[in-house]
Amino acid sequence: MDGIILVALSLAIGFILQVVWWRVFGANISSVLFLFLSAFAGMIIASFYGGLLSLSLADYVRLALLYLSVVLAYSAVCSAVEVPSPTLSMIIFIAQRAKTGGCREDDLVQGFIAQGSVGSRLKLMESSGLIGISDGRCALTKKGFLVGRLFEFSARFFDLPIGG
C-alpha cells in the first residue's frame, strides 16, 4: 500500500498546511488546491529522490489523479467551512433542542435570521467577484455572467429546478 500511504501522507500534510494558512491569513477557498498540490509535489519529489517509491510514470499519474479527485471533493466541503450552510445550521439548531422535546418553529426562525440576511450574502458575493453593487443596484460581473451561464445551462441539461 505504499502508493496509497503516499497519498494519505500528502493529504495529512496538506491539511496541516491549510490549518496554519487559514489561521494566519484567513479562510480562502482558492488556497486549498495550491496548498494540497504543494504537499503532494513535495512528497513525490522526496519519495523519488529518497528511493522510497519506485513506480512507472503511469502509476504516478494514477496516484496524482486520485489525489486531485480527493482534494477537489474536499474543496467542495471547504466552501461550507468558509461560509456556514444555513441548512446545516438549522439541523444543528434542531439537534441541540432535542432534549427539550424538539424545537419550536419561532425559535428556529430566530436562529435562522441570526445567521444573516440576504444582504450579508450579497456582500460575500461582491467580495468573491460575482456581483458589483452600486447606487442601489446589483449587477453581475464578467465572472458572474460566466457562472450564471454555466448554471443556467446545467439546470436545463440536467433538468433541475431553481433552488436556493
Binding site: R23, A58, M90, I91, G101, G102, E105, F112, I162
Partner: protein
C-alpha cells in the same frame, strides 16, 4: 500502453454516471434523487468492472490498484453531486441565475424582497421535511435522520480546527 488506458477508467465512469443520470432524469422521467443514485451506481459498476477485468499492468498491487481506481471515481462522482446540489440549494447560485434572467442587473430592493428571510426559511424547512430529514411532532421540529447532523458536526469540527467558529 495498457496501464495508460486504465488511467481513463475513473473518468470514463464519471461520464457514464453523468449519462446515466440524464437518461434516468430526462428520458425515463425519474426523480432527481433516484437519477443521482442510479447514475452513481452505474458509474461504480463500470469502474469496478473495467478495473477488475482488465489485466493489471500497474506497478501497484491488485488491491491498491482497485482501491485507487474506485476511490478516484467516488471522489469525482461526489464533485458531480455537489455541482448538481448547488443548483438545488445554493442561495448564491439562485441569485446569480435571477440576475442572469434579468440581463445581469436588478435593484437591491427587488432582491431583498424576492429573497426575504421568511421565503428562504420556508424553502429550506419544506426541503428538509420532504427529504425526510426533519418532522413536526406536537408542534415542534425534530430530527428524523442523523445523516445531515453528522455532516454538519464534521464541518463544525473542521471550522474549529481552522479557527473559524
Amino acid at each position: 500502453l495498457w496501464s495508460w488506458i486504465t488511467l481513463g477508467y475513473p473518468i470514463f465512469s464519471c461520464i457514464v454516471n453523468c449519462v446515466g443520470y440524464v437518461i434516468l432524469r430526462r428520458g425515463l422521467k425519474r426523480t432527481i434523487g433516484l437519477s443521482i443514485i442510479g447514475g452513481w451506481a452505474l458509474g461504480l459498476a463500470t469502474v469496478s468492472g473495467l478495473s477488475a477485468c482488465s489485466p493489471n499492468s500497474s506497478d501497484l498491487n491488485s488491491a491498491e490498484y482497485l482501491l485507487c481506481q474506485i476511490l478516484t471515481y467516488l471522489c469525482f462522482a461526489f464533485c458531480f453531486w455537489v455541482f448538481l446540489n448547488l443548483n438545488l440549494t445554493s442561495l448564491r447560485i439562485r441569485i446569480v441565475r435571477h440576475l442572469f434572467h434579468k440581463n445581469g442587473s436588478a435593484t437591491l430592493a427587488d432582491l431583498l424582497v424576492s429573497y426575504s428571510d421568511s421565503e428562504r426559511f420556508e424553502r429550506r424547512i419544506s426541503r428538509l421535511a420532504k427529504g425526510g430529514q426533519i418532522e413536526m411532532v406536537d408542534g415542534r421540529w425534530k430530527l428524523r435522520s442523523s445523516v445531515l447532523l453528522n455532516i454538519g458536526r464534521s464541518i463544525e469540527l473542521i471550522r474549529v480546527l481552522m479557527g473559524r467558529s
